[in-house]
């Protein structure tokens, strides 16, 4: 009953607020005012319904928290990540996925291959950012800047020195990595919101420099006619070049995934996680905070550099407009949505945020609204992301342990 009343009030309030834009329309040609009362009804009913569902879901979530805190819910929530832990399930699934992604360009059109290239690029970007945000817990809003550094490294080297893709690829990664380390020095002491603001500013600085240093970067109109990657000197048609790039990105994405996974479960990865969990305890356990922070930034941004080089090679034309804050925000959303620190989560996150909008073109006008709604819903109902991170499980052979377990 209480819920109904609340929902009615919310609905009335929304009807009142949206009245000027939804109901009254001034026709400036005929100087008349049109009253669209049906819209008012739509808003009222729609908001009432949504707000009721919202309340119901919240109440259900709270009830759940009280009744079954431990095993039961934990099991239900992470069936996907549990399935991935089971080798019998995970291996064939991964093999099938791999076969599918290898066969993909033969099965779909060039247009769709293009979509998948950008999906994989976002996977690489997300995995890189995941090291900084998810593993090391440093809120970082300037990832697009390093994507730009990678892209412009290739574009400029190619434009001015005719350097080819395969030499530029490692260089782009290296420059982005160095850029990340350079950014890390001034922000060593910052945490949380302050770090976010500074990195956001840094991202904008890079973009503005690219935009205004016209003599070098071509300013807002960017650089065009960037070479596509060469394949032993063969001339490829545009469609074939696209397929070729698809395989390059696929390889990069797989390498990134393996590398990030290995890093996460290594001595360095554990130090990064310790930094995220507690900076003081981390230092007291003998970890050099400065070192680890520099590593986090360098390791994360290098991947953005690689992705940038491939992006430049794919589009053959880049300008600063491709590297706005929006881009950083999307990459961050991928990480947050997928689940901080989880690689599988990053893939799901990019599928949701990159593939969905492409295939739901019909909704493209509402893209940002759906985006925002999804984020808000996530934060309320599943703040840990699609794949909840949990410590890495180790296996230790200990005969005593089994005995105790049985007893």
């Amino acid at each position: 009953m209480q819920g109904l009343k609340q929902s009615i009030i919310t609905s009335l309030w929304f009807m009142f607020l949206t009245f000027p834009i939804m109901v009254a329309r001034v026709n400036t040609i005929e100087n008349t005012v049109e009253w669209r009362w049906m819209n008012l009804a739509y808003v009222g009913v729609g908001v009432f319904f949504l707000s009721y569902v919202w309340r119901w879901a919240l109440a259900r979530k709270e009830a759940k928290q009280y009744e079954a805190p431990s095993t039961e819910t934990a099991k239900k929530q992470s069936w996907l990540s549990r399935a991935m832990e089971e080798p019998a399930v995970a291996r064939p699934a991964l093999a099938a996925l791999f076969a599918l992604s290898v066969a993909m360009p033969m099965l779909v059109t060039t247009y769709q291959t293009n979509i998948f290239i950008s999906f994989l690029l976002y996977v690489v970007l997300g995995l890189g950012l995941n090291i900084i945000v998810g593993v090391a817990g440093l809120l970082f809003l300037g990832h697009a800047a390093f994507y730009a550094i990678g892209a412009y490294s290739y574009a400029l080297l190619n434009h001015y020195f005719g350097i080819g893709f395969w030499i530029a690829l490692p260089l782009g990664g290296l420059f982005a990595c160095l850029g990340g380390i350079m950014l890390a020095f001034p922000v060593l002491r910052l945490r949380g919101d302050y770090l976010a603001i500074v990195t956001l500013g840094f991202g904008e600085i890079i973009r503005l420099v690219l935009e205004n240093w016209g003599s070098l970067t071509g300013g807002p109109s960017g650089i065009s006619n960037i070479d596509r990657p060469g394949l032993f000197g063969m001339e490829l048609s545009v469609a074939d070049a696209n397929i070729y790039i698809y395989y390059i990105v696929l390889a990069l994405a797989i390498i990134t995934m393996i590398a990030v996974q290995r890093l996460k479960n290594s001595r360095i990865g554990r130090a990064l996680q310790a930094l995220r969990e507690d900076e003081i305890a981390c230092q007291a356990m003998g970890i050099d905070r400065v070192n680890v922070k520099l590593m986090a930034f360098g390791l994360g941004t290098a991947w953005a550099g690689f992705a940038g080089v491939i992006f430049a090679a794919k589009t053959t034309f880049i300008n600063p407009a491709s590297f706005t804050f929006m881009e950083s925000a999307i990459i961050l959303s991928i990480v947050v949505l997928g689940g901080m620190g989880s690689n599988l989560g990053v893939i799901l996150g990019s599928a949701f945020l990159v593939l969905m909008p492409e295939y739901l073109r019909a909704f493209s006008e509402y893209r940002m609204i759906i985006f925002a709604a999804a984020m808000v819903l996530m934060m309320v109902f599943r703040p840990q992301g699609l794949i909840a991170p949990k410590g890495r499980k180790y296996h230790v052979d200990d005969p005593d342990l089994i005995k105790e377990g049985e007893a």
């Binding site: 001595r267 554990r270 507690d278 003081i280 230092q283 356990m285 180790y394 105790e404």
Partner: protein, 262 residues
Amino acid sequence: MSTVLNVNSLSKSFGGLRALNDVDLQVDSGEIVALIGPNGAGKTTFFNCITGIYEPTDGDVFFTPHDEEERRVNGMKPNKVTELGMARTFQNIRLFKNMTVLENVMVARHCRTKAGILDALLRPPHVKREEKENIEKSYELLKYVGLNQHYNDLACNLPYGDQRKLEIARAMATEPSLLLLDEPAAGMNPQETASLKELVLDIRDKFNLAILLIEHDMSMVMSLSERIYVMEYGCLISQGTPEEVSKDPQVIKAYLGEESHA
């Protein structure tokens, strides 16, 4: 007997507040020493100053690790101090909550292991070996403090008393020559406190190290420690064996009187 920790007229001010005032303190090897005092006396600040988390305003801290030269550690970074061989636990538990129990201990072996970024990516045999050894040694420590059942659980899911034990295991993983315990029994029930007492004694004997202990539980302090330092308002007001200290009128007035223990 050689001195492990030698602190000379250590002072620390926070703005106008003098949290430590000319504190002198020695710990010999193999000794269990307690540092007690009322709330806000400056005990935790003392720990923070000698472990490098705060930089002392004045005074010297000398630390002599096992089989090594005496080193002045003021103003050293905390991770360097830990690397030299001083490990600590925290009064307000500071575990890595979203990492597993085993990982918590493995992290602490950071300064005793070497694998770098390239090692992590390529995993050559010697790195795999190091990782395996790290897991084994960490697990041994967990078994030693009795937490091996839970090695794959997240640290935040441990009961309170076990979290304190995990803090001790984590500190031990850094292979210290001096162990600093900040109120390890806080929030424990009497049984847990008793088993903790056993554990502390056993650690001292088994690992042959010195222990400096901050504790409010008087029975634990009196039965464990060989010497006691008493602190009030940042100054040492008494020191000596448990008997001497508990008879000191100043201590009774400042501390034991209030708490009406002993």
